[in-house]
Amino acid sequence: MIRRLVVCLAIALTVFAQAPAGRGRGRGPTTPAGPTPRLPDGTPDFTGVWQGGGSNSGDISKGLKPGEEVVMLPWAEKLMKSRKSQDDPQANCLPFGVPRGAPYPWRIVRAPADGAATHMFILYEGNIHSYRQIFMTGKHPDDPDPTWYGHSVGHWEKDTLVVDTVGFNDKFWFDYLGHPHTEKLHTVERYTRTDLGNMTIEVTIDDPGAYAKPFTTTGKARLQPGEELLEYICQENNIDLVHVNAPAQLP
């Protein structure tokens, strides 16, 4: 009987783990099969609405490369332990920053759509209803103003879009636990559309101001055929935080 119970629990957990984030009761579209689509110039075509792909939004130390660990400097660990859930910027309708995962779909737009791209834009349904811009030509400014999404430059390495970002502010949290960072944060994201329906996003996080050594998270995004982004204006009626009066913790 115990064995039956364990099997049933395993099935329930597996079903939920495989359901696209942000969907209930398995109502999301089926992930299509097929080869990676390509543009006339041979680069992978990232067109489409995607779900998932960020770091573990609850605890960034989950899902690291084998053998890696998150080692916080003492001040950072002390700060994290002092944080309250209601102060989480994303709970206050501020951006996730990079690379925290969101339960909302997103889209990559290449500009111009044909020919050599000068920009890639990531459009987020949430949280918040915003965008990132990736400059496909040029380089980082010498002294960028610290911002929520930083300054991103991209290039292709074979079939992988590599996005290098600096110039972050220190305001966003890496996860619900409140892992902090500093303006020294430097991220390198590697987007690889492994086939028609799947994208792997590997992110190396290097912040010598808060962590003893870099670490790398890997997220999986899935194509959402037929899906479109919907409006999500978080600031509209954010009335619940008065009840979220507890230490920062998992969702």
């Binding site: 942000g22 109502r27 994303q90 949430g126 954010n238 009840h243 507890a246 230490p247 969702p251």
Partner: protein, 131 residues
Amino acid sequence: MRLGIILISAGLLTTALPALAHHSFAAEYDTSKKVELKGVVTKFEWLNPHAHFYMDVKGADGRVANWNLELASPNMLVRNGWKRTSLKEGDVVVAVASQAKDGTNTASLTTVTLANGTVLTFMAAPEEPAK
């Protein structure tokens, strides 16, 4: 025993769903304590970042208290079968929910059952309305 297993499995799923919201539900609600509320919907707010509905519930002492029930965001609700008309003022409903840890009449919805038997959850609604 078979029923027991089904209940445990369903419990895992329903308590996991609120984790998809934009703030920590574990910090706000005690999901181990469910309240059952019988009453009348007084308002349905189809707003971000969470939809809410409010309902009047008569207690054992005869006093009526107004409860605030929290749902997912409208974009998520729409993708999972809810409509902005799924609830309306005057609906007689039974809600099962996790009450806020601060003890106020605030709760995260697990299920709400309408008078016609339709069951809606924090984020999902049936494909076809119950008949």
